[in-house]
Symmetry: C2
Subunit: 226 residues, 2 copies
DNA sequence: CGACTGGTTGACGAGGGTCAAGGACCGTGG
DNA sequence: CCACGGTCCTTGACCCTCGTCAACCAGTCG
């Protein structure tokens, strides 16, 4: 069930995975404490689809993507997690999506006591219910985007979501490459790139670099998001 | 906890909303009981997006669709609810999707005590968390379908989902029209119709009528669903 | 019988995917 | 210092899947 550890590209991350963090990751039982801090390098896998779900994660810093794969490699990213978000909780101890670090990431892992276990504190269950409900609502909004919006509307909605969640007013530093944005929006990276160009040509955004976006006209952007 | 119930009542009869049922629907406060039985006619609105959420519903018989609309009328159905399912619970007392009866429907409504209210029983919160988590997982699976599968794969997956959830082995009575299937799968009704024809021509299904589907080759159907 | 809802099928075109080439921007090493 | 390799991004040409528009058919109800 536990897949072999693939940390091929640790070297690309500015922040290396320490031996201790590496050990934590696959054998977190070594810790007796209720919460375990962990670090992951860029593109490192936090957990994989199908793996048994022994821990819940709270993101401290960085960005995480949750995704599902089809057998032929098609991928759908269901969410980007930002600091403060929790992820990885499941009802049946099996992860039904995988989670990877988009950039170097710090998390805190909590032992996950099979959800319906009676000795889980009521307050914790309530907190989790709130977070799960919010996640469900966001996912339903995303269904509408994937099922019914065109490419330009999808990118506009994505930029607005990122502005809102990152708390910045009109300048945005995207943590993820075009390929991840494409897999989040149900498009190809080429189409995402073309839509960026279209928004730029319309004077709605400015691209200081591929990852650094300035929103020049939020009103028009909201109008495009449908 | 999860009460399994026989498949939907799919009679097409235009069972009118009785005056009492209509009153229940908009002023359920008239009832003092903790649970209120209600009936809804085909296509009747159970609650609308944006409405305040005073009740949670448990489906007794029939089929319900949950959907969201864009301002120009594009619609995405996020789920079909079958008997035993619960729907309509929200974290902030505002419905973020609308719910309508696909066929004549019987539900039981429970007063919804602002979720984070301390006097909600812990058992109820746990039950709700379980159902919400299952809903979240199904919605994430649907993201993958909408973002990455083609028309034929979508219809195949839909038919398999309906077979599985209705508990039937290989004959299926679809409660919903092509238009609803299309809005669930992110397609047009014409494309849905063409994909039905394609599956029929391939000998994988048989169409005794538009709503009555026999699965002839489940293995091939599963292979098509990707 | 006619009106209405729901479903099928065909012709056509557009939106976005595919394939390919090339540019920008790294960090590393000669 | 520049060359090199790798990753990421952009842009163009072409084409295919699915949406649009329209006609027609099947049931059902009044």
């Amino acid at each position: 069930m536990l897949t072999p550890t693939p940390l091929a590209d640790i070297s690309h991350g500015p922040e290396k995975l320490t031996p201790q963090a590496f050990a934590d990751r696959r054998q977190p039982d070594a810790f007796q404490a209720p919460s375990v801090p962990m670090n992951f390098a860029r593109n490192a896998e936090i957990f994989a689809e199908g793996e048994s779900a022994g821990y819940v994660y709270k993101l401290v810093s960085g960005v995480v993507r949750s995704s599902k794969l089809l057998s032929d490699g098609r991928r759908q990213i269901s969410a980007f997690h930002l600091p403060g978000d929790m992820f990885g909780f499941e009802i049946d101890d099996i992860h039904h999506a995988s989670a990877e670090a988009v950039v170097p990431v710090k998390v805190v892992a909590y032992k996950w006591p099979s959800l319906m276990n009676a000795d889980v504190s009521s307050g914790f269950v309530r907190e989790l219910l709130g977070r799960t409900m919010i996640g469900l609502r966001q996912t339903q909004d995303h269904l509408l985007l994937l099922g019914r919006k065109n490419a330009l509307e999808r990118l506009a909605a994505f930029l607005l979501e990122m502005v809102r969640r990152s708390g910045s007013d009109h300048t945005l530093l995207l943590a993820m490459p075009r390929h991840d944005i494409a897999d989040y929006l149900g498009l190809t990276l080429e189409t995402v790139s073309r839509m960026f160009a279209e928004l730029k040509d319309a004077g709605i955004i400015e691209l200081e670099s591929a990852r650094r976006v300035s929103i020049r006209d939020v009103v028009k952007l909201k109008a495009m998001a449908a």
